[in-house]
């Protein structure tokens, strides 16, 4: 009756051999293709380095002015702009300016990448139930798989550094972008789509004139979520060599430096608040036409 009390599992020797075979296979794959994969990602690395240098080397008043300008353009709200400027000044005053710039640069690149990859996937998903059924479980895995687990193969392939960090962050931050693009397009009013058809719109015209504009508020919510998820990954990404606000936090955990942890943690929260308020205000402004005047 041992099969009742202990789960009848694969023979230990086989199991070990099985795991070894997979490991060995992957290692060989790494040796054979690692260089090529690294070369493939090298433009991304140059871009990351360029964006980080730009953020750090630009004098701080200009950076603050540009961020304030972007915040104003997106939100048209003096409260949002004032909040952003105060948060940035505080971060600088407490000596975290450079780390913050590194983190913002990383988050921006991650977000741009997630949007560029996520929106087309979301569009294709919205057009075909088959694709949706295929992509959805992959997104589930991406969101629930502990990030440390997929850090292993990424680090094996690319070593530690900015690019593996970027990949880890994008894997985690991409799903809401894809899901909300898909949802937004699927929620577009069928009557309006029918009208577009009746006037002889091509598929591209329907997408450009009807589906994307009407899905835009939902897509903006997706971008907002993607930014928040990317920020949440900053500390984990710092474990594989991504510089920025995550590394002091990591150091604080290792050495139990309470204040260091709190300061850098609050800086991450501060950036999150700026990104969130600005992107939400922009999303709201996109929906101005939804206001009704008549009852």
């Amino acid at each position: 009756m041992t099969w009742l009390t202990t789960f009848p599992h694969m023979d230990d020797a086989y199991l070990t051999a099985f795991k070894k075979a997979i490991d060995e296979g992957f290692r060989q794959f790494t040796r054979a293709y690692g260089d090529r994969i690294e070369a493939f990602f090298s433009p991304l690395q140059s871009f990351l380095i360029f964006s980080e240098r730009l953020m750090i080397n630009t004098p701080w008043p200009i950076v603050i002015a540009v961020i304030a300008l972007i915040a104003w353009a997106a939100s048209r709200s003096s409260r949002v702009v004032a909040g952003a400027v105060i948060i940035l000044l505080a971060i600088g005053y407490f000596g975290m300016w450079e780390d913050t710039m590194r983190t913002i640069s990383m988050i921006l690149v991650c977000t741009v990448l997630s949007v560029v990859i996520g929106i087309p996937i979301g569009i294709v998903m919205a057009r075909s139930a088959h694709v949706q059924n295929f992509v959805n479980p992959i997104l589930d895995v991406m969101q629930t798989m502990p990030s440390f687990v997929y850090l292993i193969p990424v680090v094996m392939l690319l070593g530690i550094g900015k690019v593996p960090g970027l990949i880890a962050v994008v894997i985690y931050a991409l799903p809401p972008m894809v899901r909300l693009t898909n949802l937004g397009i699927r929620l577009v009013d069928r009557d309006v789509l029918e009208a577009a058809d009746a006037f002889g719109s091509s598929n591209w015209q329907k997408l450009k004139n009807v589906q994307l504009p009407l899905a835009m508020p939902t897509i903006m919510a997706g971008i907002n979520q993607t930014i928040m998820m990317a920020l949440a990954m900053v500390v984990i990404a710092s474990m594989i060599g991504v510089q920025g606000l995550g590394q002091p936090v990591l150091k604080a955990i290792a050495n139990q430096y309470f204040t260091l942890g709190i300061f850098n943690g609050l800086a991450i929260v501060g950036i999150a608040i700026i990104f969130d308020r600005v992107s939400q205000a922009f999303g709201l402004r996109l929906q101005k036409h939804r206001e009704t005047v008549h009852g």
Binding site: A198, G200, N209
Partner: protein, 377 residues
């Protein structure tokens, strides 16, 4: 504006069955299987059955029916938003059903324009940008788009509102945008799917007036769907009545009111204001050579209500009726008008009411339950 006289539309032997095995079941339906039997035995829905309608170019063809009668399905076959199971839709001699995807797109861009019950405007675009949509899709230059659109925005009475968003307008104004959008497309065929049904009665009458006024000059082929008989009679030069996916009567408003094909239509017609619908030509006596023609002449096309008014004002006993060419074709007196204006009253014959709308019509018998006889007597 280069307005073309609308193309004729010919619908021939059109069947639409909803379901996966629709094509296999057409023969059963042709063999006489009913809508309910099709549902019970095969779980397929019979949408349209043997539709044959010929719509002359430049006319307003109304298709009337209650919800579920298949009228909205039918209009969507004309620009093939819905594919038929079998049958032909000929527009200007070309079979729409046989068109490939590219041809169909061109056909929709240049031959048809559609107005929808729920307006279906693009909420993120202003009135102007909604109105240019058809031309934008065609790839016309922005300058011409705006020129054309502004013209129609003005014609439907929306001047000054071109920069508003649809949500800032009332329902009636939104549908004016829908109409302007369709007209800006300058297509010979205008499809109107319950276009005025969502509007309140006064605004609806208003929009009907706008449409009739415009049609006098644009002369498009208008297919107008409605569930409202008054609207059908007011707008329709020709009317087809649909029930359970079948055409049960086709004809002019006069024919529908005077000679309803069955009890179902008769029930609708009873509620109609006959004085405003019937024209004097339908109730006059043909001109006999012996009679002395009355002094005052009226056109065959004026309504009974107007005729009655003229009789009352002139003090004459009868009027001469002339056709479109000015020839005298008949005589009408006040008794004929009063008789025709009153809805056909039932007379009691035992348990049955015999209704005679006009002397030459077939008799209709209606069972009257015992308890209601008292009131009728």
């Amino acid at each position: 504006m280069a307005d073309r006289i609308g193309h004729g539309i010919e619908i021939r032997r059109l069947y639409k069955i909803f379901g996966d095995r629709a094509v296999d079941l057409v023969d059963a339906v042709k063999g006489g299987m009913s809508k309910s039997a099709l549902m019970e035995q095969h779980s397929h829905v019979l949408g349209l059955k043997d539709i044959n309608i010929s719509m002359p170019g430049g006319c307003i063809q109304v298709i009337m029916g209650l919800s579920g009668s298949g009228k909205s399905t039918l209009i969507r076959h004309i620009n093939r938003l819905i594919d038929p199971t079998v049958g032909e839709v000929l527009v200007d001699g070309v079979n729409v059903v046989k068109m490939n995807k590219a041809d169909l797109m061109q056909f929709r861009r240049h031959q048809t324009a559609m107005v929808f019950q729920k307006f279906a405007l693009l909420p993120h675009r202003t009135v102007l940008d909604n109105t240019v949509y058809g031309l934008e899709v065609q790839g016309v230059s922005r300058k011409r788009q705006v020129e054309n659109a502004m013209l129609w925005i003005e014609r439907v009475g929306l001047s000054g509102f071109q920069n508003r968003y649809p949500n800032q307008l009332s329902g009636g104004m939104q549908q004016r945008v829908g109409l302007a959008r369709a007209l800006t497309n300058d297509a010979p065929i205008l499809l109107m799917d319950e276009a005025f049904s969502a509007l309140d009665p006064l605004i609806r009458a208003d929009m009907q007036t706008v449409l009739l006024g415009l049609q006098k000059e644009i002369k498009k082929t208008i297919v107008f769907i409605t569930h409202d008989l008054d609207e059908a009679l007011r707008l329709g030069e020709r009317i087809a009545i649909l029930r359970d996916g079948e055409v049960i009567q086709q004809g002019t408003s006069q024919e529908i009111v005077l000679k309803p094909a069955d009890e179902y239509i008769a029930r609708f017609v009873k509620e109609v204001n006959r004085g405003r619908v019937l024209q004097v030509g339908a109730v006059m006596d043909p001109l006999a050579s012996t009679t002395v023609p009355p002094r005052i002449r009226v056109s065959v096309r004026i309504t009974l209500e107007e005729t009655a008014k003229m009789l009352a004002q002139s003090g004459e006993d009868s009027l001469a009726v002339i056709d479109d060419d000015g020839r005298m074709v008949g005589v009408v007196d006040i008794r004929q008008i009063v008789k025709a204006m009153a809805p056909p009253e039932p007379t009691i014959v035992g348990d049955l009411r015999v209704t005679e709308p006009t002397p030459d019509l077939h008799r209709r018998y209606t069972y009257v339950p015992e308890h209601s006889q008292q009131r009728v007597l």
